[in-house]
Symmetry: C2
Subunit: 135 residues, 2 copies
DNA sequence: GATAGGCCTTCCCATCATGGGAAGGTCAAG
DNA sequence: CTTGACCTTCCCATGATGGGAAGGCCTATC
């Protein structure tokens, strides 16, 4: 299988497959005599694993750990769970930060009449930069 | 006022002030004879505006629009409100995406006993890459 | 007036994961 | 043998930010 076919089969772009190889996330693929990378089902499965982990928001660094645990048949599921719960916590932190932005923006937008007059509490808030949101 | 003082007064780092100038988000600051950038209250206020907008998650591109509206005394508040509501929608999209990740991860983590045995539904999910989450 | 150290300047590099594109080689079908 | 679709490597760009080097400036202290 060439890289393009592996890309289609795994959902990881050819560009990213080469990138993952270059940073050592995946082992260097085999090559044909003319230098084309060759992939089999095993490699595609690894790529799908990576793809799925990316979809769950894991960084490449975390994926490296997950792959190591995946390969380690004597792993402790506690280690995997720990990575997952850490990831959950990080995501929730970011969600909370963004939700706070949404709340503030919603508050300001609700206070803005949104017509052709120039008066705008949104700009007023940005202008004074106090961040007062008075929920 | 030198750039360091403007940085402290505005909450925007000196690095970022220079960057914002380089990309044209703010006009080039005045200079002393020896080349130091000089800032006054007006500039600090603009920087605070930018800082606050960044805190609300606006991209530099959006901030450019907001600054233009801010400077335009004949603006329509509807235009400002539109930018804000678009921003709210974008944030909510991203929140929804991350929340979906959290939900999936929570589901998987809950199913993982998290002890010293190797069996782990989290890895199993990544392995098959189906993304089946069965809520 | 000299010296120290704290500020300023520009310039380059790094992040993180991803894509774009150029220049050139390979392969398969017609 | 040509054509077009693929592959290779290499370089550049993203967005917003920080780090750091090399060198100049300013102020306070001696």
């Amino acid at each position: 299988m060439n890289i393009g076919q592996a890309a289609k089969a795994s959902g990881v772009s050819a560009k990213m497959i080469r990138y993952y190889e270059s940073i050592g996330l995946i082992p260097a693929a085999g090559r044909t005599a003319s230098g084309y990378r060759v992939y089999g089902q095993t490699e595609v499965q690894i790529l799908r694993f990576i793809r799925r982990a990316r979809d769950l928001g894991f960084s490449v660094e975390k994926i490296e750990e997950l792959l190591a645990l995946w390969r380690d048949r004597s792993r402790h599921s506690a280690d995997v769970k720990h990575i997952a719960t850490t990831q959950i916590a990080e995501l929730q932190d970011r969600i909370a930060g963004m939700q706070a932005m949404v709340d503030t923006l919603r508050h300001l937008a609700d206070a803005c009449c949104g017509d052709d007059r120039p008066d705008c509490p949104i700009l007023a808030d940005l202008e004074q930069g106090t961040g007062v949101t008075k929920h």
